[in-house]
Symmetry: C2
Subunit: 648 residues, 2 copies
Amino acid sequence: MGKIGKYTSMPLNKVKITDTFWSKYIKLVHDEVIPYQWEAINDRVPDAEPSHAIKNFRIAAGLEQGEFYGFVFQDTDLAKWLEAAAYRLETHPDAELEKLADEAIELVEKAQQPDGYLNTYYTIKEPGKRWTNLRECHELYTAGHMMEAAVAYFRATGKKKLLDVMCRFADHIDSVFGTEPGKLRGYDGHQEIELALVKLYEATGEAKYLKLSKYFLDERGKKPYYFEIEYEKRGRTNHFPDALMHNPMYNQTHLQVREQTTAEGHSVRAVYMLTAMADVAALTGDQGLLEACRKIWDNIVSKRMYITGGIGSMAYGESFSFDYDLPNDTMYTETCASIGLIFFAHRMLKIEPKSYYADEMERALYNNVLAGMAQDGKSFFYVNPLEVLPEACEKNAAYKHVKPVRQKWFSCSCCPPNVARLLASLGQYIYTVNDNTVYTHLYIGNKTNVEVSGTGLVLEQKTNYPWDGKVALKVSAEIQKEISIALRVPGWCKNYSLTLNGVTIEAKVVDGYAVIERTWGQGDTIELNMDMSAELIGANPAVRANAGKVAIQRGPVVYCIEEIDNGRNLSAISVPLNSKLRAEYDKTLLGGCVVVRTEGVRTDAIAWGDSLYKPAEATVLPVVIKAVPYCMWGNRTPGEMQVWIRKC
Amino acid sequence: MGKIGKYTSMPLNKVKITDTFWSKYIKLVHDEVIPYQWEAINDRVPDAEPSHAIKNFRIAAGLEQGEFYGFVFQDTDLAKWLEAAAYRLETHPDAELEKLADEAIELVEKAQQPDGYLNTYYTIKEPGKRWTNLRECHELYTAGHMMEAAVAYFRATGKKKLLDVMCRFADHIDSVFGTEPGKLRGYDGHQEIELALVKLYEATGEAKYLKLSKYFLDERGKKPYYFEIEYEKRGRTNHFPDALMHNPMYNQTHLQVREQTTAEGHSVRAVYMLTAMADVAALTGDQGLLEACRKIWDNIVSKRMYITGGIGSMAYGESFSFDYDLPNDTMYTETCASIGLIFFAHRMLKIEPKSYYADEMERALYNNVLAGMAQDGKSFFYVNPLEVLPEACEKNAAYKHVKPVRQKWFSCSCCPPNVARLLASLGQYIYTVNDNTVYTHLYIGNKTNVEVSGTGLVLEQKTNYPWDGKVALKVSAEIQKEISIALRVPGWCKNYSLTLNGVTIEAKVVDGYAVIERTWGQGDTIELNMDMSAELIGANPAVRANAGKVAIQRGPVVYCIEEIDNGRNLSAISVPLNSKLRAEYDKTLLGGCVVVRTEGVRTDAIAWGDSLYKPAEATVLPVVIKAVPYCMWGNRTPGEMQVWIRKC
C-alpha cells in the first residue's frame, strides 16, 4: 500500500440526518444526555454518584479551594461532554449550549500549567509526580480525550482556544516523550492519545503530532518493558492494587503492535489502539501496521465478538479472553468497547472499503451500542449481557458486574458520554469516499453534500431502516462526471434488487458493495430493496456457550426474549429450527419497533414436579415466542432476558 | 420428638471393610495420603506449598525459634492428620503410625498454654489478641478440629493424653464464652467446634460440653451482631480484607439458627453447623433445631445441590447462591463441603432413618467426594467442576478457581485431609441402629459386629457395588430375638428383588427401606438385586444451566465425558433422549470401572466452516459417546470434561 490519497472523514456539518429511527436517539442525546451530563459533571444530579469533574478544573485553575475527587482520569468526563457538545453544535447550532462549552473551555485553559501541562489530578493531588505511572494513571489517555474535544470544537465552531490549549499540551508531551536522549521512552497504559494526536494532526497539519502518535505505537511492547522500568523507578508502588496491571497482555504490551495478531486484554484499550494503528497506517503508508490491523480485525470478528457486536468476554480486566470463548452471562461487552470497534471499523473502511468492516460496524451500532442507552436517554449500561437473570446479578457474585437495569450514572462514567459523542457524530459513519466512489455503509435517512473526485454531489437517503429493507438514494451532481455510488449489500441480506429511476438494474458487487458507475443527473434515484426476513442464526460450533442454540436476527437487528413477554424462566423455552418467524411492526411497543413471533415449546415445569434430578423426560407445552430488538431490552418491567434460545 | 434413645455411631473397630471398590481407596489413604500428609505438615515435600504446621507447634512449645507461618487455622493440618491416623489405627493397628501420632500429640501438649489455651497462631504471633476476632480468625474452629482428633485417637487407642489436652482447652473455652455475666457472648465465624464439642461430650459424658455446643448454636445470629461488636471493639481491623466478612449470610449469622430455612453462605460452614444442629437436636430433644435441619436439608437437596452431590454454586465466599442456581463451570462445589453434607446426612439418619438422607449421602460419596482425590491418592481437587475447558481455566478469570488437573497440596489444605479422615472412617456410615432395627444405608462389602436391642449381630455384606446392583447380606444372631434388617432401596433404583436364603420374599418398604423382620439364625442370607441400568437423567426445568441437557447415571455413579475419549469440543456433542445406553465393565480402564456408551451426534464443524454467525444449520455427524465415572475424571491426559450433555 502506498500512502492513502485521501483519508478524510465526512465533515459533520455536510450530513443532515433525517432518519426516523436515529433522529429519535440523536434528539435524546441533545435533550437528555448532554444536559444531564452537564448537570452530572457539575454535581447537580440528586442521588447520582458525584463527578467533581468541573470542580477539579476549578481547583486546578485556582478559582476554588478543595481536594481532587474522582478517578485519575476524571478530566475525561468534561472532555467527552465537550466533544459531544461540539458534534451537536456542528450539526445543530445552539447558542446556549455553545455558551456553556465556551465557559468550560475558558476553565480548561485556566487549569493549564505554564509549561502546557494539563491534568487536574496531578496538578492538585500529586504535583511532583507527573509521568511517573503511565501504566495506571491515564495522563496521556486523559490528554487524548481533551484533544479529541478540541478538534471537534474547532471544527464545529471555528474557535481555536481549546485547540491551542491542546496543541500547547501536545507540544509539551512531545518534549517529554520520544526516542531522543533525555526523553522518556514511555507510552500510556490506556491507549487513546494515539488516535487523538492523529486528529490533532488532521486539524492542524502539524506533522509532529502524527509522528508522536506513531512513536507511541512503535514504542509499545518493546523490551525491556517501560512499565516495569517506571515501576522500579518509583519504588514499586501501585495506583490500582491489581495484579492485572503487571500482566503485559492487559494493556497490549505483550508484543510490539505490529507483531500482534489476536485481540487481547482490556477491550477498549485494544480497539482504541487499533483505531490509531489504522490511522497511522493510512497516513504514513505503514504496511506492517495495516497488516496487524487486518489480522486483529479478523481475529475479533471471526472468533471473539458477540452477535450483538459486543467484545470483551470477561469482567476481570474488562478483557478479551480467547478464541470462541463467548459466555452469554458472565461477559463484559462494555458499551465503550463496541463504540471503539465502530471507530476501528470506520478507519478500516476509509482505507479499504469492504462490507467485511461495515457489516460489523452496523452490528455493533444497532445492537450493543444502542442497548447501552435507555429509550428515554436517562440511564445506561456499561455491561451489555446476552442473558440476564436479575436474581443471579444480586445473589451470585459471578454476575455482580452485570446489572439487570440501566444505571443513572457511574463513578467511572465512560460509557454514557461515549454513547453521546458517537450518536452526535453519527453522520461521519454513513459514507466514505475513495477516489471517484462514494461508499454507502449505513442505511440512515440523511441529506449530504459530498465532495468526490473534484465535484459536489448531493445524496439524499430515505429509508425506514432497520424496520424495512427499502432504501431510496437520490443523487444530484453539480457537474457531469462519471462517479460510482457503492451501496453495501449487508452480509445478512440474501436477496436484493436495485432500480435506477424505477428501472431494474444489475450492478457488479465489489467487496460487498453494489457499485453503480454513472454520470449522475439532477435527482437520479437508486432504490435498493433488501429482503429483510427474520432468521434463526447459529454460532460456530466452537462457541460452546451457544451450542444447540439460535438467535433471532432481522436485518441488522438482533432480537432477544424478555420475561415480560415470555414469562419466567426463559431457559425453559426452545424453538424448532424450522419454526416460521413472523415479523410485525408494533407502533405502540417501545416507541415503535418490529416484533418477531414464532412457535416454540416450553418445558412443562408442572409435569416435571419438584424433583431436582430424575430420569429425563420431554414433556413440553406449545408457546408463542415473542422477541423484541435487543437494543431495546430492559426498558419495561425488569426481568429475565436472553438472546440465544435453545433449539429443539 | 422426645430425646433420641440411642444416638450412637458404629464403633469403627466393629466394622471391617472388605469391599473391592472402597478397599482400594482406603488403602490409598493409608499408603499414600496419610504418609504424604505427614511429610507435608513436616515440610518435607519438594515442590509443594510449605505447611509449617508442625513447626508452628514446635515454636509455640518453645522447642524451636521462629515465626508463625501459614493461615490462622494452620493447626488444623495436624489435627486432621491426627484424626485420619486415628481412624486408621482403629481399623488397622499400626505401631509405626501410632508412634508418629504419639509424638505429635506430645508436641501438641507442649504447645498448650498453662490456662489450657491452644492455638499456635495466637501463641506465637499475636499473644495479646486471643478471642478478639472470632469472625475471621478461626480460633474455635481450630480447637474443634483438634477435639475431633482427640476423640478419635482416644477411641482408637484408648490413650487419653490428647483428650485431656482438649478437655482442658474446652474447659477454658467454657470459662470464656457463655451468657453468664463477664463472659464473651461470641461464637466462631467458621462453625466446627459445635460438632466437635458434641463428640467430646459423647466421649467423656461431660454434659457441659454439650451445653457449650448448644450455647454456640443458640447465640449465633442474635442481634446486636457479636461480630460487629467485636469489630468495633478491636478498632475496625480486618484479618482478611474482604467485604464478604461483613455479610452476615456468609457465616450463617443472618438469622438465628432455628429461623433459618435455606442453605446460605459458605457451604462448608453451613453443613458443619447443620451437623452440630442435628447432633444437639438429637441429644437434647430440641424440636426447633431438628425442624430447621429438616428444612435446610430439603432446601439443599431439592434446590441447591449438584447431581454429583456438590454444593456451593459460587466461588466468591465458596458459597451457596440461590435456588436452582447451579452453573456447571463457575461453581465451587468444594470437596470439603460434600464431606460436610455426608456428616449432616449421617446425623439425620441417626435421628430418622429415611433413604431421603442416605440417597444424597451416597451421591456425595460416590461422586463429588471421590472425585476430590486422584486415583493414585497423590493429588486433590478443591473445586469439583461439572464442566471444564482447560483453556478457560487459564485464560478466563471467571474460571480461575477451577483447576483442570488435581493439585499436589494447597496453601489452605483443608480438602486432602478431609478426604483422608472420611475414607478412613467410612465404616461409620454404612449402618445405623434404631430400636430393634439395623439400617443398611450404604452397600459396601464389610463384616460388622453390631449391637441391636441388646443382642449382638454379625453382618456380612458382599457386593460388587457400585458396578453391580447385587448385594448379599449374611446375618448371624447371637441369641434368638426378633430384629429388623432394613435395606435401603436407592432412589435411583426402579426395580429390585429380594431373596432370603434363596427364596424370593416381599418386604414392606418404610421410608425407602425394605424392612425384613425376623428372628435371625446363624448365617441367614438376604440377597438384594437392584436393577442398575444406566439412565439419562434430567434436571428440574428451573435449573437453567441444565436446560435441554441430560446426565448419565448408573446406580449411584454419575458419569462424565472426557476429551480423551470423545475428542475436543464436548459441547458439540448431543444425545437423543431415546438413545440406548450400554454399560460394560472395563477392567483396564482407571483400575477397572464400568463404562457407558451410547449413540449420539456431533455438530459438523467442517460443514459449518469459519463463520462465527450465520443462518442456523443442523448438520451433525454420528458419534459413539463414551462416558466414564465422574469420580474418576482427570486421571488420564488432561482435557475437557462435561457431566451434562445436550439432548437432541
